[in-house]
Point group: C2
Chain length 369, copies 2
C-alpha cells in the first residue's frame, strides 16, 4: 500500500488536506491504558477486536499494553495482522467454504490461529483440511447466548460440539465464546447491565455444562466495549473481545464509559450558505450514518443533519449564528460508527500536540473476505 | 493496486469466494446502450458521473458508446480517470483550498479539466493558480436550482460570477451547471417530473439571464439517472451527468426507469438457524444501508431485515420456508445504494454467462480527497 505523497510528518492540522481520518494519539494512548489497567486489576485477559481499527500499528500498541492477542472478524483481517507479526489471533466468526478453509490452514502455518465453530459439518471440514495441511489450529465453540445470529444452541448442542472438537485429530479445542451484540450498545446503563448479564450467564452456564461432561474449557471469551466491565465480573469468563474503546465513536460516546473520542474526520467548510448553515466536504464516502450522524467536535452549537456522498450539512442549534466560520475553515466530525467509518479510509493520520506524527496504513481495509 | 491472487478468469460463480462485488456485463452493456440511444435520439450530450462506479473500465465503455466525457465528484477521482487516459473531465463540485487547487492545476496539464465554481473568492484563487501554472482550466458556474447545498443564487449572483469567469485571464468560462439532488430519487414519477422540471427551469432561466448580459453559455449541465429524460426535454440544457444507470441499485430500481440491476454482492449462507431465517456473510462492510436494505436477487420469498458489520440477516416473507438453502449456498444482494457500496470494494468482478471474464480495479475507491 503506497503512502500518501509528500513529506507529511510534522504538518500542522491546518496544513493537512481534507477530508482525512485523524487519530488523536493522546486520547488513543489514554484509552488503551485505561482498558489495560482494568484487565491488570481484574486478572482477566483482553484480546482487543481489530475490526474497529484494522490498523496493525494500533494492534501492536494494544499488545504492548498487555493484551493477550487480538481478535479479528474475518480471514482477510487475520492475514494482515499475521503479516504484521502478530502471533495469537482469534477469528471470532465461523470460517465457511473450501476456499476460506484452505486460507485458514495456510494462516495456521504462520501464526497461532484460533477460529469459532458452531456446526458439526464445519468442524469436520476444518479437521479434514487441518489433517491434509498437517496443522492444528485452535477452535472455540461459539454459543448462541441471545444474539440469535450465529452460535450453537446452549445445552446439549454446545456440549456435543465441544466433544467433537476435543476428539478431532487435528484441531485443538481451546474453549468457547459468545457475543451479546444486541445489548452491548444499549444506552441505559442499568438495562445494559441486566441484559448483558443474562447473556453472559448463559455463556458461563454453557461452560459449566461442557466441563460437567469432562471437557476442560481453557478460554471463555465474550463482550465488547459497552459491557467489558460486566463481563470481567463473571468468574467463568477468561477474556474479552472489546475493540471500539481504542478509537471510540459518537454512539459509544453516549454510553458514558470514560473513554475519549480519539477518532475524527477532519473536514473543510466548502460553503456557508446562510448565517446558520454550513456545508463541509465530508459525506457518506468519508463517514457512515447507520449509528447516527456525526457530532461536530468542540462545536456544541452545530449539528449535522444530513450527509450526501461528498457533503455534510450542518445547522446551528437554538437559532445560534455561525458567521465565525468561513469557506476554508476546518471542523472535525466525531463519526457515529467508528468501525465502518475506518473501513472507508486507507490511512489514519496520527496527531499529537496539533502535529502529524505518523501516517498509518489501515492495512486490513478492503479485505472484504 | 494488486489484483487478487490466482488465475480467476473463467471461474464459475460458485467458484468465487464471497463476499464479492459482481457486475453482470450483459446488464451493464444493455444499460449503457439504452442511455446512449436516448442521447443519440435527443441530440443531447451525456457526461456520465463516474462516482457511481469509480472504475476506469466502465468509464471507457461509456465513452465508447458515445459519451462526451465523464463527470467526477472530486479531484481524486478525476486524477484516476486522467491516469486512465480520459481527457474530457468535469469535476461537478467546487475545488476549495490551496492544496487542492494546486492539484487541479497539475491535472489541467494532463487533461481538459472543467470544474464547478460558486463563489467569487474561489474563482479568484483558481485564476491566480492557473496563471502561476500557465494553464487554462474550464469553469462552470454552479447555480443553486433548489437543492440548497452548493451553487450561486440564480439571478444577479450567477450573472456576476459568469462575467467574472469570462473575464478571468487564465480560466475558460464554459457554461453553467445545476443539480436537483433532492428530487432525482422521488419514487412517484409525476411528482419527480413536476419538481425536477421546476429546478431545471431555474437552470434554463439562469442561462437566459447570463446570455442576456452578453455572455455566451456553451455548456448547461444537470441531472441524474432519475430525471435524465426530463432534462433532455429542455432546449437550454446541453448535457446530463447521470451515473447510476450503468450499475443501478435497489433504490433506483424502485423508480421503474427500465435499467437492469447490473450490480450485486455475492454472499454465502453461513447459517440457517430456523426454517425461515438465513444468515449470510455480507454486512455493513460489504454494502450500505442508507437507501434501504439490499434486495435478494431472484428470491422474492426472502427479505434482508438487518445488517451487522459482517453479517446479513434474512427472513422469509408470508411464513414461507427456506429449507432449500443450506450452509455454503450462494445468494446475491442487490445493494440499496450502489454508489456507496462500490466505495467499499477494491475490485469489481465482471461476469458474463455465469463466468468471470474480468476483474476490474475500482481504481478511484479510497481517493477520499
Amino acid at each position: 500500500m503506497e503512502l500518501p505523497a509528500g513529506d507529511y510528518i510534522g504538518m500542522r492540522r491546518d496544513e493537512i488536506d481534507t477530508p482525512v481520518l485523524l487519530v488523536d494519539l493522546d486520547a488513543l494512548d489514554s484509552n488503551i491504558e485505561k482498558m489495560a489497567a482494568h484487565f491488570r486489576e481484574t486478572g482477566k485477559h483482553l484480546r482487543p477486536h481489530s475490526k474497529s481499527h484494522k490498523t496493525p500499528a494500533i494492534a501492536h500498541r494494544q499488545l504492548e499494553a498487555g493484551a493477550l492477542g487480538i481478535t479479528c472478524a474475518k480471514l482477510g483481517e487475520a492475514e494482515v495482522m499475521a503479516d504484521a507479526g502478530i502471533r495469537d489471533i482469534l477469528i471470532a466468526n465461523e470460517v465457511v467454504g473450501a476456499k476460506k478453509i484452505e486460507r485458514l490452514m495456510h494462516l495456521a502455518t504462520r501464526c497461532d490461529i484460533m477460529v469459532a465453530v458452531d456446526h458439526p459439518a464445519n468442524l469436520n471440514a476444518l479437521n479434514a483440511a487441518a489433517a491434509a495441511s498437517d496443522v492444528s489450529p485452535r477452535v472455540l465453540v461459539e454459543v448462541n447466548i441471545g444474539h440469535n445470529r450465529c452460535g450453537a444452541a446452549p445445552g446439549q448442542a454446545a456440549v456435543d460440539l465441544a466433544r467433537q472438537a476435543q476428539n478431532a485429530s487435528h484441531l485443538r479445542f481451546a474453549g468457547i465464546m459468545g457475543y451479546e451484540g444486541h445489548v452491548v450498545d444499549l444506552e441505559d446503563g442499568a438495562e445494559r447491565e441486566e441484559r448483558a448479564s443474562e447473556c453472559l450467564q448463559r455463556l458461563v452456564d454453557a461452560r459449566a455444562d461442557i466441563e460437567a461432561a469432562g471437557i476442560a474449557v481453557g478460554i471463555c471469551s465474550s463482550s465488547a466495549t459497552g459491557d467489558y466491565y460486566i463481563s470481567t465480573r463473571f468468574d467463568g469468563i477468561t477474556e474479552v473481545q472489546a475493540g471500539s474503546y481504542a478509537l471510540m465513536d459518537a454512539a459509544y460516546g453516549r454510553l458514558g464509559l470514560g473513554f475519549e473520542n480519539a477518532l475524527t474526520v477532519l473536514t473543510t467548510v466548502g460553503s456557508r450558505p446562510t448565517s446558520h448553515q454550513v456545508i463541509t466536504d465530508a459525506g457518506l464516502k468519508s463517514l457512515t450514518p447507520e449509528h447516527g450522524f456525526p457530532l461536530v467536535k468542540d462545536r456544541n452549537d452545530l449539528e449535522c443533519h444530513a450527509l450526501s456522498e461528498e457533503h455534510g450539512r450542518l445547522r446551528t442549534l437554538d437559532g445560534a449564528d455561525c458567521t465565525d466560520l468561513q469557506v476554508g475553515d476546518l471542523l472535525e466530525f466525531i463519526p457515529g460508527h467508528g468501525c465502518t467509518t475506518v473501513n472507508l479510509h486507507d490511512y489514519l493520520y496520527a496527531m499529537r500536540g496539533g502535529q502529524l506524527v505518523d501516517v498509518w496504513p489501515i492495512a486490513a481495509r478492503g479485505k472484504v473476505r
